[in-house]
């Protein structure tokens, strides 16, 4: 018969009971989102904690500050299921691991945008705000006058007013008839009407019209409580303009782009890199330049941070793709998108909505990322994985 020797180090009771509730809250708030969800199953007390708004807000601020970003992407191919996936790079730097998870299927709805851990999605009739982790969703009121017209939709949050707003730009075009049929190519923009909804309000507000065409389906950049877009040049104007929309004052403003080469057409996308507004420019020499505005609002503070050479990832070298999109494949940098900068200064790029690549600027090397069951085409947004919801006070 063996004796069980109890040493002084062996604890027989729940050691967590030593700690007050607020400390357990601090500990849980430092877990990554999936671990936080798993910790719900440990005991009932922990489950109650995960519903505490203070825990969610603290956890969110940890997640938002981390340099290991995460993304959600949605694909409709190969299975037409609008499947959502979550990728997390927080362990990439320390352990070389990228977490890739299939999210639970919500509804067959299309992903538009992400802000503060909430997704803005739409289907044919409605627009929704949802958190894919907690699967709570909110259906937004319909835009009454233009129920069928969906223009450009963006979703943002202002730190001071603590409000979430959705902005929808509806385009009214002058239809040009050509031989009895509408010629889409030459339809000119008559008006773009701007409607804003503050989440929580019962209806949209029409706040005026915009002389620009925001028809590019490029994700916006949210910096300093302002949304930014590049407008598409129209028939009278060949330049693309950088526009900002203040979520508090609801005013549009033009902003100065960097002087990179004199041409006004070279910037083709915006993003937020390490909290700064940034723009990617493509020139004829096939290089992608990334400019960063170090001080908000000051034109001179635009600095060319880095240049990315021409590179075609192996997946895109498949022959079938080349036939499909010859020009883009030959000049991949004309349609590459910079996603973010990782902790060790490596840069994440997205090529043609198909491939995610990690670029190391010090060595000039590219590494392609693929995953099991990776969809063929996808729409990718930067997303903070959290249990956040609209009423939770985040800063």
């Amino acid at each position: 018969m063996s004796k069980l020797v109890k040493t002084s180090e062996q604890q027989t009771s729940n050691i967590m009971e030593k700690l007050p509730q607020e400390i357990i809250l601090v500990i849980l708030s430092r877990l990554p989102s999936t671990s936080l969800l798993q910790s719900m199953l440990v005991c009932r007390a922990w489950r109650r904690l995960t519903r505490d708004p203070l825990l969610v807000a603290t956890h969110f601020s940890h997640m938002a500050d981390k340099d290991g970003p995460s993304f959600i992407f949605q694909s409709n191919r190969p299975s037409s299921s609008y499947q959502l996936f979550f990728i997390d790079f927080s362990d990439f730097h320390s352990q070389g691991k990228v977490m890739f998870k299939k999210l639970p299927h919500l509804m067959s709805i299309y992903l538009l945008d992400s802000c503060n851990g909430l997704l803005c999605m739409r289907d044919a009739r409605w627009i929704y705000i949802c958190n894919p982790f907690t699967r709570v969703y909110l259906q937004l009121p319909k835009l009454v006058n233009y129920p069928a017209q969906v223009g450009h939709i963006a979703f943002g949050f202002h730190q001071t007013t603590k409000q979430y707003k959705v902005i929808q730009v509806v385009y009214l075009r002058q239809q040009v008839l050509l031989g009895g049929r509408i010629n889409v190519a030459t339809s000119t923009l008559v008006q773009s009407q701007v409607h804003v909804l503050t989440i929580g309000d019962p209806s949209w507000r029409h706040i005026g019209t915009l002389p620009y065409d925001l028809a590019r389906p490029i994700p916006k950049a949210l910096v300093n409580g302002r949304l930014h877009w590049l407008s598409k040049p129209n028939n009278d104007n060949t330049a693309s303009i950088l526009i900002s929309f203040d979520l508090e004052t609801e005013q549009f403003q033009e902003m100065a782009k960097p002087d990179c080469c004199g041409s006004n057409r070279c910037f083709h996308h915006l993003m937020v890199l390490r909290g700064f507004l940034s723009a990617g420019a493509y020139h004829d020499n096939d290089e992608l330049e990334v400019w960063v505005m170090k001080e908000y609002g000051i034109k001179e503070s635009w600095i060319k941070e880095f240049t990315i050479g021409n590179h075609l990832p192996p997946t895109l070298q498949q022959n079938d793709l080349l036939h499909f999109n010859m020009a883009k494949a030959r000049f991949p940098n004309s349609s590459v998108r910079v996603l973010c900068i990782l902790r060790n200064d490596e840069i994440l790029l997205e090529y043609l909505n198909r491939v995610v690549v990690v670029f190391d600027p010090r060595h000039g090397t590219f590494k392609e990322l693929t995953f099991d069951a990776m969809p063929h085409w996808y729409k990718l947004v930067v997303h903070v994985g959290s249990l956040n919801w609209i009423h939770i006070p985040v800063c």
Binding site: N14, M16, K102, V358, T365, F371, D372
Partner: protein, 246 residues
């Protein structure tokens, strides 16, 4: 303007007295408050902290004060490593450190110790977390099932945690593996190359090709066939957990 070598006396719960420099002691906001608002010459009682724990805490504060003031030549990475070693203690001591850091209001130590516990929880299944900390499971079986079902995707540890980073190799064979068919994915794991087919195609294949990277680079790659088990309904999900070869 006080002298830089002002000392403060601290008495612990087990009646031990520690004499430390003011700069070190006021890392604790609690001690700082008491010192600035009480009598600076008498002893400050720290009732809730034992001598052993306070001794460790004072080591921590001293290290951080010295490194910040430049008295010790230590790089941020070395300090980070020192911190990592500092928290390599048994659970009881760690939790006592947390309580003491909370009571004495030493923010950086509280962050460090809480993050250490969070790292112990991270990546573990609920059963493992309960075992580690001896937490009693107060869920009924039905309730536990319901919660697990609700968040199934998060518990699905197998559902895709993996790193598949494909090096941009000049090797022809390698890039062929990648680009050959849409349904094949090539993965480098340690020194093996595994070819997998996507889930739907697995139904018809009875074995998976595993290419072993030979020790001697000049010998050709060895192909082994690993038999699949449990064909079942015809769909098998293969899950791999790799460390990326960086």
């Amino acid at each position: 303007m006080g002298s830089t070598s002002t000392k403060i006396k601290l008495r612990t719960s087990d009646q031990k007295v520690f004499e430390v420099e003011k700069a070190v002691a006021v890392q604790s906001q609690t001690i700082k408050y008491i010192y600035e608002n009480g009598c600076p010459d008498s002893v400050i009682h720290v009732h809730s902290v034992s001598g052993d724990i306070l001794s460790k805490i004072l080591d921590y504060c001293k290290k951080h004060v010295n490194s910040a003031a430049g008295k010790e030549d230590i790089s941020p990475e070395e300090l980070y490593e020192w911190d990592a070693n500092f928290v390599k203690v048994d659970q009881n001591t760690l939790f006592d450190l947390i309580l003491a850091a909370n009571c004495l209001k030493i923010e950086s130590l509280l962050d460090l110790t809480c993050q250490t516990v969070a790292n112990m929880i991270k990546g573990k299944r609920p059963e493992e977390i309960r075992t580690t900390f001896n937490i009693k499971n107060d869920y009924t079986i039905e309730a536990e099932e319901a919660v697990r079902r609700e968040n199934k995707w998060a518990f699905d540890m197998l559902g895709g945690v993996g790193t598949m980073v494909i090096e941009e190799l000049a090797d022809d064979t390698m890039s062929k593996c990648v680009t050959n068919t849409k349904s094949r994915v090539c993965v480098i794991a340690a020194n093996q190359i595994v070819m997998m087919r996507s889930i739907s195609k697995l139904a018809n294949k009875k074995s998976i090709d595993v290419y072993k990277q030979p020790q001697n680079p000049t010998t050709p790659r060895i192909k082994e066939s690993v038999k699949q088990r449990n064909v079942g309904t015809g769909f098998i999900e293969l899950f791999f957990h790799f460390k990326c070869k960086m």
